[in-house]
């Protein structure tokens, strides 16, 4: 599929560094799927769909900065949705988010909540102002908060909020890889799903740039079950744009 022209209809500041861009196009994703966002003349980067028709972006480098310069009425090219998305399980689920990790998990929370699944969210961020989508998670269940600087909630990492892991039917996690690795080490791997970040080039499962051992994040993932990840380099090293190994 060629990029679809998606016109920005609304821009919302979520935190001082994070903005949501709404488009005129709905991508009808499964929660956890992502799109490739082409900022023309700049770069094309992967972004989770935080709503059916929106992405939520943190300004970190040249492409995200270029995105932050766009205004309502401007457009980007979008390919996708790609990947598998989360597999929603019945019972009482727990979501563990770190920073931007809330972006793919918020639609999951809403979908699960709407179908009567009990949802608890452990929401982590660097500081109070950077907590993302707190209200969306609160609307469907209990939310516990942790911040690195202690400006709100628990002072420390969100992983520290996770003590009763075995009480949940399934755990869903997205955040920095080190954080996810810590979570994986605390849970029954088969009862946890993780949404991974890797360097994405093609986005369609061909080039292999995104591989975690044999697994393609863009096609077989980005969501993987913990028991699959246990057997891989996940949490140990990732690859840079060249395919060189980089310690996580």
């Amino acid at each position: 599929m060629k990029p679809v022209n998606a016109v920005i209809t609304k821009i919302v500041d979520e935190t001082p560094t994070i903005r949501t861009f709404y488009f005129d196009t709905s991508f009808e994703p499964v929660p956890g799927q992502f799109v490739m966002v082409w900022i023309r003349g700049v770069d094309e980067i992967p972004m989770a769909l935080s709503y059916d028709n929106a992405i939520t972006v943190q300004k970190v480098g040249h492409a995200t900065s270029a995105l932050f310069e766009l205004e309502e009425g401007d457009s980007v090219g979008i390919r996708g949705p790609f990947g598998n998305g989360f597999d929603v399980k019945k019972g009482h689920i727990v979501l563990v988010t770190g920073g931007l990790g809330a972006a793919p998990l918020a639609p999951l929370a809403e979908k699960a909540g709407a179908s009567g699944i009990k949802v608890t969210t452990l929401l982590g961020a660097k500081t109070k102002d950077e907590l993302l989508f707190r209200e969306r998670f609160e609307a469907v269940g209990e939310v516990r908060v942790a911040t690195d600087d202690g400006s709100i909630g628990k002072h420390g990492y969100v992983t520290q909020l996770l003590e009763d892991a075995k009480n949940y039917s399934q755990l869903y996690c997205c955040g920095p890889e080190i954080m996810m690795k810590k979570v994986l080490d605390k849970v029954v791997p088969s009862k946890a799903q993780f949404s991974l970040h890797r360097y994405i080039k093609c986005g369609i499962g061909i080039c292999g740039a995104c591989c975690v051992d044999g697994l393609r994040v863009c096609k077989d993932g980005p969501v993987f079950s913990g028991d699959i990840l246990k057997r891989t380099e996940f949490g140990v090293y990732r690859r840079n744009e060249c395919g060189e190994r980089i310690k996580v």
Binding site: R40, I206, C207, E233, E244, R245
Partner: protein, 296 residues
């Protein structure tokens, strides 16, 4: 019934993973090997780590894909461990390598242990590499000879279709001592986003792969088979067992599969069983169909 000996390598079937497809990490090569491929070819590896062209680096078009990866690779200095991991898949691992001159090629080849080398002189979108040298007979012959001198394993040369006469380039490889040629790499192509006028690929243009290019690849294989004494390996647009049979009939001793792996990593098993059923029904062997289009 599908096993063959290809330039001395024993393959359980003539279906190989093409270069540049899930070929940067040992883990992914191993996975493809375990999914039924007869052999796997790595991503093309160069002298220094290279991050490739900026994104978009691949886009789907009618009946195929355009890509301009720009040969991202971790350099041969970081690649032996990947090959070693790939070897755990228990099929031959062919190292695809690229460079700007014969010295580059022989430096890389001497440093890597692999079951064979495939020389990429045909990538259409890497400046100073690939098809910029693969269109020059003298260079191709020179590079082939340099690598042959540097290694003891078979050396294959991968050709570009973006030439007036692919046969003459194939002959140059043969003269240089190549054990086989591989045809074809992607065809130069380009797509433009009509909403904005921007060329879609970060590199503006790239190489066309997938079903669109099969008839072109079949013709190249057919011509090379007529011209060369060394085996021809076919690649370009294979997406089912019928395509693989068509290539072998055109004169390919084995084939490589690229783009189609994206949507079906199990394609090697699927094609093997399809080919076996076909040959059984027809009461033919692989040898019966090899190059048969030249005899009818």
């Amino acid at each position: 019934m599908l096993s063959i000996t290809l330039t001395g390598l024993k393959l359980k079937n003539p279906l190989m993973l093409a270069a540049g497809i899930m070929g940067t990490t040992g883990g992914s090569l191993k996975r493809v090997a375990e999914s039924g491929a007869g052999a796997v070819v790595t991503k093309s590896i160069g002298l220094e780590p290279k991050s490739g062209h900026s994104n978009p680096s691949m886009v789907e078009v009618d009946c195929g894909y355009l890509n301009a990866m720009g040969l991202p690779n971790p350099s041969y200095k970081n690649f032996q461990e990947e090959i070693d991991t790939a070897k755990e898949g228990d099929v031959p691992v062919i190292a695809s390598i690229f460079g700007g001159c014969s010295l580059d090629f022989s430096e890389i080849a001497s440093a890597l242990r692999a079951d064979a080398f495939e020389l990429n002189v045909s990538c259409p979108h890497a400046h100073g590499y690939g098809s910029e040298i693969g269109t020059d007979q003298a260079l191709v012959e020179d590079i082939t000879r340099a690598v042959k001198d540097a290694v003891k394993v078979p050396v294959w040369v991968k050709l570009t279709p973006n030439v007036t006469d692919i046969k003459s380039i194939g002959l140059a490889a043969e003269h240089g001592g190549a054990d086989a040629v591989v045809a074809i790499n992607t065809i130069r192509g380009m797509a433009i986003d009509i909403e904005s006028g921007y060329p879609i690929l970060g590199n503006k243009f790239g190489g066309l792969s997938g079903r669109a290019i099969k008839p072109v690849a079949i013709k190249c294989v057919y011509d090379l088979y007529e011209t060369l004494d060394i085996p021809v390996i076919g690649v370009g647009g294979i997406s089912d067992w019928r395509d693989a049979v068509e290539f072998i009939m055109a004169g390919a001793q084995a084939v490589e599969i690229g783009s189609a792996v994206g949507n079906n990593i199990n394609i090697f098993n699927d094609i093997s069983s399809g080919m076996e059923a076909f040959l059984e029904e027809k009461e033919w062997t692989l040898d019966d169909i090899y190059g048969v289009a030249h005899e009818v």
